[in-house]
């Protein structure tokens, strides 16, 4: 298993990163850190995907000199998926950051638990 | 409704009269009306009973369901009980006319008094178990107002206690009835039993349980241990005349029911030698002894008499439990005798209460100076109850003891008579002190109270004295001339055993 993991070193790293991101998302109370965790998680997934598309010794899938053989290029599909995924992650990051800004303006805190408590108190008063 | 309609009359007539008395306004205002009508109805009742007894036959009143009919019929046992009831009821009724004059709401007493006798007649004439049960329950309910009459807190409590013991007993009995209905063709009383062997197969154990339940259940009315508790509570609070009939006749309704169940439905043979018989004997002997002991220790007169009833009625039950002819004769004769005697005793106690207000035995020292005649009657009755020959109690006890000895029930055949004997001694112990203290109060007795209240020689009125006298005389006479009664009882015994 270890050997196989070392062969799949990119994925292994990606997965560990994914786990790190996941942990941050769950554990940290600071919203900015949560967002970072989320980004790490997303990025790890893209790394995973991208490494899946790679084929040893082949070129970027941009047709050069009219060569159109399969053996010449790496798999273009994961690259496309990563492109799409990046946009999605940018969007969600932006959204979360803006939420964080609003919440910080309101409660002067980035601690999610504290924000929840303050929000509850605010509503009660 | 088919059959001899005359049987209905002793039932309907007093009930109707009772309702009229209860409802009519004029009875509340005018005492004369009330007493007059009541006595007349009682006399009429007596006549009707005799007529019905003479005419015999049977009557089907109603079909409750397909198999449950309400029917009346006349046989030897019902004759005995009916005549006894009617005559004693009449006497007590006459007594009540005087006794109740110082109570409130007399119309209610007389109303229910009349109704109860009607119900009792129904009970006596019942031709089957269901009818018996119906009247048994009705009797409980209609006699309840008699207990409650005083309406004091104790009276209400006592009334409820009476009700619950009776109802509990009745429901115990009902268990048996439920069972018996399933294993018999009909529940019509037939000497020797009506059970169907085919249906009974495999349910013998259950039969015994049912029989025992019924004995204990109906035994509640007869004051048999363990359901005897109501008697000593109910009697002291009820008017003396009510206590008299309660202990003299209504307890006998329980006896009648047991006779009917054991000898006319189940059949004595099925019980002989079983645990039911043994248990039953044990219970009766326990009751006999316990009743006497309690009576002996009881200071309140009416309560003492009540305990005495507990003990005495169990003599009857003991006789029945022996399941042999002689004892049966003894039992039935004791029914009659005890009824007569106990009425006499209770009426005396009532007379004492009315005249002097004394309720406790130790208050009654020197009673002989107040009412010697009454006390004389009391003494006769007491002697009869103890069983001193030639008074009546002796006859029945003789039959009971000899029946027991010849019953072949092992240890019971001699233990029973021994207990009876001890109990007779105790009876003497609790009844005679009144006589002795009454007539011979001793040197230290000054009779201050008697003098102060000018009670000396203040006999109760004739309305009260006469019934007591008649009853005391009967107690004596039955002992002297028991022949015809005994022969009649023997014929009954022969038919059922």
């Amino acid at each position: 298993m270890i050997q196989h993991l070392s062969l799949n070193i990119e994925e292994t790293v990606a997965v560990i990163l994914f786990g790190v991101g996941f942990t941050i998302l769950l554990l940290h109370r600071n919203l900015i850190k949560k967002i970072m965790g989320m980004n790490i998680m997303d990025t790890a997934t893209y790394l995973f995907l991208a490494s899946k598309g790679y084929i040893t010794g082949r070129a970027v899938p941009i047709v050069v000199d009219g060569v159109q053989e399969v053996s010449a290029y790496i798999n273009p599909v994961p690259s496309g998926l990563v492109l799409t995924g990046i946009v999605v992650s940018v969007s969600t990051t932006a959204l979360m950051l803006s939420l964080t800004i609003r919440l910080y303006e309101r409660y002067h805190s980035l601690d999610l638990d504290e924000i929840l408590i303050l929000a509850k108190e605010e509503e009660q008063t | 409704m088919e059959g001899n309609m005359i049987l209905l009359l002793p039932m309907v007539c007093p009930v109707a009269a009772g309702i009229v008395v209860l409802a009519g306004k004029m009875f509340r205002k005018d005492r004369k009306y009330l007493t007059g009508v009541s006595v007349m109805v009682l006399v009429l009742e007596f006549a009707l009973t005799l007529w019905a007894v003479m005419s015999g036959g049977s009557l089907t009143m109603l079909r409750l369901t397909e198999r449950l009919t309400l029917g009346l019929g006349v046989d030897e046992v019902s004759r005995l009980f009916a005549v006894l009831t009617a005559s004693v009821w009449l006497l007590v009724g006459i007594y009540s006319v005087a006794y109740m004059s110082h109570e409130e709401e007399e119309h209610r007493f007389f109303g229910y008094y009349l109704i109860v006798v009607g119900v009792l007649m129904g009970l006596n004439f019942s031709a089957n178990l269901i009818t018996l049960y119906v009247f048994y329950e009705l009797m409980t309910l209609t006699s309840l107002p008699l207990v409650l009459h005083e309406r004091s807190k104790e009276a209400v409590r006592a009334g409820l206690k009476y009700l619950f013991y009776s109802v509990a007993g009745a429901f115990l009995a009902l268990f048996g009835i439920f069972f018996l209905a399933g294993v018999s063709e009909s529940l019509t009383f037939t000497a020797g039993g009506v059970l169907n062997d085919g249906a009974l197969a495999g349910k013998e154990g259950l039969l015994l349980i049912s029989a025992f339940c019924m004995i204990v259940g109906f035994g509640a009315k007869a004051g048999m241990f363990p359901l005897h508790g109501w008697l000593p509570t109910a009697h002291p609070v009820a008017p003396a005349c009510a206590s008299a009939v309660l202990s003299g006749l209504i307890t006998k309704a329980g006896v009648l029911a047991i006779i009917r169940v054991v000898y006319y439905v189940i059949g004595a043979d099925r019980l002989r030698g079983t645990w039911v018989q043994n248990g039953w004997i044990l219970l009766t002997l326990l009751t006999v002894f316990m009743g006497s002991m309690l009576a002996y220790r009881e200071p309140v007169m009416k309560k003492r008499l009540a305990y005495s009833t507990v003990s005495q009625v169990s003599y009857v039950l003991f006789g029945l439990s022996m399941l042999n002819q002689t004892a049966f004769v003894g039992a039935l004769s004791h029914v009659v005798f005890h009824s007569v005697i106990k009425h006499a005793l209770f009426l005396t106690a009532g007379a004492v209460i009315v005249t002097t207000g004394w309720t406790r035995v130790e208050q009654m020292r020197g009673l002989g100076q107040v009412m010697p005649k009454t006390l004389a009657c009391y003494t006769i009755a007491a002697l009869a109850l103890i069983g001193i020959p030639p008074a009546s109690g002796f006859v029945s006890k003789w039959y009971l003891a000899s029946g027991a000895l010849s019953s072949g029930t092992g240890v019971w055949s001699w233990a029973g008579p021994a207990v009876l004997l001890v109990s007779a001694l105790l009876t003497a112990g609790y009844l005679l002190p009144l006589t002795i203290q009454g007539y011979f109060p001793g040197h230290d007795f000054k009779g201050e109270e008697i003098q102060k209240r000018k009670l000396a020689g203040k006999e109760p009125s004739l309305w009260m004295l006469a019934p007591i006298g008649v009853l005391a005389a009967a107690a004596l006479l039955f002992g002297c001339f028991p022949g015809s009664l005994i022969s009649m009882l023997q014929s009954i015994a022969a038919s059922v055993l």
Binding site: - | L62, T65, L68, S152
Partner: protein, 522 residues
Amino acid sequence: MSEIILALPVFFPILSGIFMLFYRWGKEEWSRKRELFIEGLVVANSLLIVAAIAGGADGDRRIVLFRLYSALTIMFKLDPMGSVFAGLVAFLWPLATLYAFEYMKHEERKNTFFAFYTMTYGITMGIALAGNLVTLYLFYEMLTLVTLPLVLFPLTTEAVRAGRAYLYYSIGGAAFAFIGLVFVLGFSAIGTTEFIAGGMLDVGRALESKNVLLFVYVLAFFGFGVKAALFPCYRWLPKAAVAPTPVTALLHAVAVVKSGAFAILRLTYFSFGTEFLRGTWAQWVVMGAALVTIAFGSTMAVREVHWKRRLAYSTVSNLSYILFGAAMMTPLGLAAALSHLVAHAFMKICAFFCAGAVMHQSGKTYIYQLNGMGKKMPVTFGCLLVSSLSLMGIPLFAGFVSKWNLAQAAFDSGSGLGLVGVAVILYSALMTGIYMMTVIVRAYFPSLAGQTEAAEEAALPGGVDKDDQEAAAEVVTAEDGLTDPGWKMTVPLVIFAAAILVIGLHSAPLISFLTMIGGEAG
């Protein structure tokens, strides 16, 4: 299309009730005209039912209304057992309505009350006429809902609590009954849940998963048993006694609780089938539960000093008589259960109406407040006497007949638990004697030392709180000028009392009819 007469008695009152809710009746809040309208409506419906029954109740007449789902049809069917319940309700309802007019005289929102009251009639009919388990379940749930406003009617905190309890219990029960419904549907030999005398289970398949089915039967029994106030789930019934008396009387002594019992009968005899159930552990479980309830209900009734609650506990106990009969799973058992269903209806409605009459006339609700009322309200207490005696099971009254039948059936079934059952019934009868006769005695023979005693009794354990004690200290003896209520109350009372006597004295036709039903279904 003469079968439409089966659907009419169900929908006519429901629709009229809805109409009453929304129709604006001019200015005045209440008028004689409306009473006449409602009474006419109820009587007409009863006549419809009578006509329907007269047209033949052999189970062949049916009407399928619509299909809820593939095998689930909403269907009415008039069979003998249904006609017993239908006839009973049809007899009671007009009288109860009459009584309600008088009782509700001083209340507000009468319109709402009577609208729901009338709707309940239709829905109870729906239960009686339901041709299959689904229809029964449907109307069973609807019954909960329609009667809820009636329980809530006083809108006091107490009433709201009672309503909640009622609702939770009923819905919860129905949820468990639902399991039964599903299993019956799943194992039905005919693919639907239509009631067939003797059950419709595909026995071959059922035997394969016998224990599961038995377990489900027990669940469903307890589920429907909630409405019939089976032991662990009885609490709602005494609480619901806060509702106006016509509601307590008609619904919580007759329509609603009997629907539960009726549903159990349907479940046992017409769905699962006694063949399948008899002699299994399930039978012993349900019978045991019924017996526990009988004993428990009567005992609690004795402890209770609030009159209506006492009667409610009595209902708890008496309903389980019916369930005991049902659990016997013999033809005689069914007949006995049905006979108690009929008899208890009369006895308990009579008793409740008496309580209601007293409350209406004097506002007294506790038993120690009833001293000496028997003389002032002779008709009321006369009827109460009749119903008490009948409840106790004194011969000549209706209660004896049903008890007799129950005991006969128990002996006939030959099971040990049956015998225990007879003993329990007798115990309960004794308790009935205690809790009913104390009332009677108090009413007719008020203790002279009433004052002290009332206070004393109020201090007894048994749920008497401070207010009650104060109330007890306040009024002990009956006031002057107390009389029997108006004819609208007394007439139903007298009719019920008479009915009790008639059944008690001449029950042969009824019993033979019920035995016939039992013979078919057992």
